[in-house]
């Protein structure tokens, strides 16, 4: 019980309270403690990233081991992982001559043009990552055609605001209302788009932001006061 419940609860409350106080008391010892906690957090976050990678390999490995459906593709994942990890961790692997005056040192080697890690980042990671997101353009277009229906007042307002913003932000759309004389220039589509996202949008977003902020504050308080214990697997 001590290891499972009380120690993590003590860590959470102690770290939470000290961090909170360090906002108001930036002087030592509390300020210094808060600074150290920031450093610790960043280091622990790095371990979490490595844990994530280890977990992925464990899952993909078990998929191969148990010959689950499409297990062959898991080999691709693991091979991709191993090659990237090896060339990333081993600072001696190079694909060409180092620039003059540059020594091979661990750490900065990952962003050298001669590093195979950099090559993988630029020619494998970049196109894959960018194209995955670019696919969304097609799906957003498809959704525009098939799903966005002006069924009621709310949906109509949403669609109209979307259309005005879309047209108002590009010169081709702005051409539609360029003919308007200056006297009614405020009705030009780019002006209306600017107005929508500066005022009504800001109002809507602010309401959401304030709502979320109050939610975050209350959740944080519940955590720091030890009321919220769901991370311990408790209700």
């Amino acid at each position: 019980m001590l290891l499972k419940r009380w120690i993590p609860l003590f860590i959470l409350i102690f770290v939470g309270v000290m961090t909170l106080i360090s906002w108001f008391v930036p002087h030592d010892p509390i300020g210094g403690l808060g600074d150290n906690f920031s450093q610790f957090f960043d280091i622990i976050a790095s371990f979490a990233i490595i844990l994530g990678a280890a977990n992925l390999i464990k899952l993909q490995g078990s998929k191969i081991f148990r010959r689950k459906r499409n297990w062959q593709y898991s080999i691709v994942t693991i091979v991709g992982f191993i090659i990237t990890a090896v060339v990333g961790i081993n600072w001696h692997i190079t694909m060409g001559v180092l620039p003059e005056g540059f020594n091979y040192i661990a750490g900065p080697h990952v962003n050298q043009a001669t590093s195979p890690f950099y090559w993988i980042w630029w020619y494998i990671f970049t196109p894959l990552s960018a194209t995955m997101y670019a696919l969304l353009a097609f799906y957003v277009a498809s959704a525009s055609y098939r799903a966005f229906r002006a069924r009621n007042l709310e949906a109509t307002i949403l669609l109209l605001a979307g259309i005005v913003v879309m047209l108002g932000r590009v010169p081709l759309g702005q051409m539609l209302t360029n003919w308007m004389p200056d006297a009614i220039g405020f009705l030009r589509i780019e002006r209306v788009a600017d107005w929508i996202y500066t005022y009504p949008n800001a109002a809507g977003q602010r309401a959401i932001m304030i709502g979320i902020a109050l939610g975050v504050v209350s959740t944080s308080l519940r955590l720091i006061l030890g009321i919220e214990k769901s991370f311990l697997g408790e209700e």
Partner: protein
């Protein structure tokens, strides 16, 4: 040569992902799985060299023989290099300014910050998650992360996202002396925020005047979502544009245009 292979590789992977638009196929799956593996390793490598190596290892104790064994790794762990009364930074191990003979006789000072064994232990405890029997120990680092996030966010959200937003909604000082339109817009924002908040208040049934106000709030939220939709479309098209520009460059390279 390496660049050419790289460009072809990138073009193949781009087309492999795009092929999903026609239908699911082995090329897409290959690319998707490769992405998963490469990105996991990429994050891990970058986290290691940018945080664990300089910020954690640099504060721990290391034996002298280790510090001398791989200078291109330990230059971050060595805080001072003492050579003939002169104190140089750890980088002197690798910047070529000292000969191997001088380095062999130099004193390597590794300043230790014992408190950094705390994140080391907590970080390692994260991995107990992979061992079911003792996985509960991973709650310790998790508790640290959650405590820190709660302490930081409590104040920052209250300050930046609640107080400052409320203050800027109700404080007319910035528009003092401005025309009718500025006041009208100020009023519109104030009404929007107020009615929007009413919509999010679920402790009272949305009926009567309260219900009407909540409905006005919904309209503001819809305008906001509409603007967000417009901007999302814009963002997605821009990303597609980037990929097409790349493919255009690749095809241009092949056909010499």
């Amino acid at each position: 040569m390496i660049v050419t292979i790289g460009i072809w590789c990138a073009a193949f992977l781009t087309l492999a992902i795009f092929s999903f638009l026609y239908k699911d196929n082995p090329f897409y799956r290959f690319a998707e799985h490769l992405f998963t593996g490469v990105s996991a390793a990429y994050w891990m490598v970058v986290a290691f060299w940018n945080q664990i190596h300089p910020n954690l290892f640099g504060n721990l104790w290391w034996p002298d023989w280790f510090l001398r064994k791989w200078p291109e790794f330990t230059y971050v762990l060595v805080d001072e290099v003492h050579v003939g009364g002169e104190i140089l930074p750890g980088n002197a191990l690798v910047d070529g300014s000292l000969s191997p003979e001088v380095l062999a006789s130099a004193e390597l000072v590794n300043i230790i910050s014992p408190i950094y064994y705390i994140p080391l232990v907590l970080g390692i405890l994260f991995f107990t998650r992979l061992i079911p029997k003792i996985s509960y120990l991973s709650r310790w680092p998790l508790a640290f992360v959650m405590g820190m996030a709660a302490g930081l966010r409590l104040y920052s959200f209250l300050q930046s996202n609640a107080m400052m937003q409320i203050s800027s909604t109700v404080n007319p000082a910035p528009i003092m002396g401005q025309g009718f339109l500025a006041w009208l817009n100020f009023l519109i924002v104030a009404i929007g925020v107020f009615t929007g908040l009413i919509y999010f208040y679920f402790s009272k049934e949305h009926k009567g005047v309260f219900g009407q106000l909540s409905r006005v709030g919904v309209l503001f939220l819809m305008l906001s979502f509409g603007a967000a939709f417009g901007y999302t479309v814009m963002a997605r098209i821009s990303l597609l544009l980037g990929r097409f520009q790349f493919l255009g460059g690749w095809l241009g390279g092949i056909f010499g245009n």
